[in-house]
Every structure is written in structure tokens, then in C-alpha cells.
Symmetry: C2
Subunit: 198 residues, 2 copies
DNA sequence: ACCTGAACACCGTTCAAGT
DNA sequence: ACCTGAACACCGTTCAAGT
């Protein structure tokens, strides 16, 4: 009651945190997470290495803050394409996230070691799956089949992000994926049982 | 001519290298690549850390040796399932490689930093794609469409490896994938143009 | 509340020196 | 040819001390 932090203090703290996140974002995206040492990051942010630990729990916590900032930016822009077709939305998403570059596989690698990053990764998956939910349901799939198809969609998106093939190849993959989801009309027309190839 | 290494010397070197690779394999698979320090590995192999550099270029080189050893083992066992259906072969592959656990995403992460690992990763992709080639061709796809479908297949396999969902979910994903590849008979039966969802 | 200097226990890697 | 002891330049993180 008596010694509450002033509003200005809180604001300053958030502003400085945002500064650090901005610097970290540039370095992480251009040089990668592992190659960006705490001391290099501190130098770029014009502070001492240990000062970072006043604003963040640890290095993974900084990564989460960077990922969250990027996601917030993307979510804001996403409004402009939210009503487009599945294919266009996927194209936009892959285009956008490919700029994040090496961070995608870093998240996968560190998710098994850091709880905060695992949590963020889960959130991303939930979001990616929500992109497919409506179209998969519209295709007539439900239950485990629908879940499997949604998983296929997210795996393909992640594959495009981690491997970043040339743009026309990415487009071909997205088109193919979209058509396999939509090519499931109410009229059955192909063998639906198990397939014995060869 | 005069001071050639004896055969026994060569043999010993290979045997010791194999010993180290065996120890490294266990540690990498159980604890992960990053968490297994050179000094821990050396201690487990009953040698000094710097001795490792007599047998290997660097830590990534050890990882490549471990990956190669695992791949060789798997290739040998693969003979037993080579003539099964695509679904069964994929199930076997995913089952087998999921035991490698955290190494899959480590390879992705380090491929952007180490040339030897990038090379190995390329080889793995070529192999995974070869698994799908015949069935995709048999489905009637060709050219860029076939390549896109093959890429989808490898992305789904990698997704299953890195995320390791429960076995029944993995099976559902594989079944769905196989059926989308095979569900492309000579008789056209669904809209093939662009799809406008919503 | 915020920031620092100095230290801690590591890390992967190198190299002169031994056999 | 093979192996080591000792060192190198780092790394992420902690903490007592300052303001």
C-alpha cells in the first residue's frame, strides 16, 4: 500500500525489456540462437551480461520473448488474410515464418530441454492446427481421421519452414496439400480401405 | 613403401573408433547431443578429451559417425520389410527412428551450422524420398506434382519423428498419408481446381 | 529497483611434449 | 602413430557489492 512501484517505473522496465528483445530478435534471426552469446547480446544492447538476468530468467526465456514478439506482429498482420482460402493463408504463413529462419529448428531442439520453450511450441502447434480445423471438417473427415489430417497439415507447414525449399516448390507443396484435404467430397469415389501397393 | 602402416594398426584404429562411436551413440540417444560434453564422452570411453580429436575432426564429426552407424544397422534390418506395402514400410521406419529420439531435431538444428551434418541430412532426405517415389508414380502423379507429394511424405515422416505422438496417432497419420497418395485413381472424380474455403 | 565487477564451473578445441 | 597435461578462449549463470 505504501511502497508500491510507481507507474513510471513499471513502464520503464517494460520499455527496456522490449529494447533488449528487439536487439535479441535481430541477432537470433540473423546469426541463430546458439551463435548469439549472452555477452554478444549484452554488448549489442549496451549493458552488462549479468544485467540480462535482471530482466529474464535465462537465455531460453529471452528466446521465448523474441518468439512471442514475432508471433504478436504476425497475428496483427494476419487479420488481413484471415478470410482468404486455406491455400492462400498457408502461403502467407509459410512466407512470413520462413524469415524467422533458423529459429524454427532451434525451437524444436530446445523444446526437449527447456520447459518454457516446450510450452511455447505447444501453443504454436495449437495455432497451426486451428488453421486447418474448419477446412478438414468441411471435407467430411471427423474423429481420428480428421485429427490425423490436421497433423499432416501442421507437419507439412513445419517441414516447409525448416527446409525452406524454393518458392515455387513451396507453392506446389501447399497446393498439393490443400487439394488432398479438399479432395474428399460427400460422394465417395475411390477405394477407402487399406491400400496394398505393389 | 618402407614405413607403411601395418594392417594390424589400421584395424586397431577402426576398432577403437567403433568403440568410441558405440559409447557416443548411447549417450547421444539417452541424454542428447548438447548435454553430452566431450569430457563426459571421453570419460565414458576411458580416454582423455583431447584424444577424441585424434579419431574425429570435431564433435559434429562424432555425431555423423553415430548417425551413420545407426543408419547402417537400420538398412540391414530394412531388408526384411522392403517388399511390404508403403504403409507398413513407413510404420516400420517411424517406429525404428523414433528410438533415436532427440537426435532428429538436433540434426536439423546443426545442419545450418555444420557442413558434414548438412551433407548427412541431405542424404537422409534422398533416402526418405526414395521410399515414396514408386507409390507416387503409381498413383499417376508426375513432374512437379509428384515432387510435391513426395515432399509431403518426407515432411510427415519427419514430423512424426520429431513430435513422436502416441502410437495409434502415428498409425492414423500414416494411414491417412498413404490413402491420400493412393487415392488418385485414373478416373477423375473431384474438383481439381483451386478451392475457396469458407 | 536496477546495475555492475568479479568469479564459478563449465565448454569445445589446440598443441607441445611424451611414448 | 597414438595419447596426454596443460592451456586457450570462450560459455551461461550467480552473487556480493554498489547506487
Amino acid at each position: 500500500m505504501s511502497d508500491m512501484p510507481k507507474n513510471r517505473g513499471l513502464h520503464d522496465r517494460d520499455a527496456k525489456r522490449a529494447d533488449i528483445v528487439g536487439v535479441a530478435r535481430e541477432l537470433f534471426v540473423s546469426d541463430g540462437f546458439e551463435r548469439t552469446s549472452i555477452s554478444r547480446l549484452a554488448k549489442a544492447a549496451a549493458i552488462t551480461p549479468n544485467t540480462l538476468y535482471w530482466y529474464f530468467e535465462d537465455k531460453d526465456d529471452i528466446l521465448v520473448a523474441v518468439l512471442t514478439a514475432i508471433a504478436a506482429e504476425d497475428t496483427a498482420v494476419y487479420a488481413g488474410v484471415a478470410d482468404r482460402s486455406l491455400g492462400e493463408r498457408l502461403g502467407w504463413l509459410v512466407d512470413r515464418l520462413q524469415r524467422v529462419g533458423p529459429l524454427v529448428s532451434t525451437v524444436h531442439d530446445r523444446a526437449s530441454k527447456s520447459a518454457v520453450i516446450a510450452e511455447w511450441h505447444n501453443g504454436f502447434h495449437a495455432y497451426a492446427e486451428s488453421l486447418f480445423a474448419a477446412d478438414v471438417a468441411a471435407s467430411g473427415l471427423s474423429g481420428p481421421d480428421a485429427e490425423a489430417m490436421i497433423r499432416i497439415g501442421t507437419f507439412v507447414v513445419e517441414g516447409l519452414l525448416t527446409h525452406a525449399p524454393p518458392p515455387e516448390a513451396s507453392r506446389a507443396v501447399i497446393d498439393q496439400l490443400v487439394s488432398t484435404i479438399a479432395r474428399r467430397p460427400t460422394s465417395r469415389c475411390a477405394v477407402s480401405g487399406s491400400i496394398q501397393a505393389r
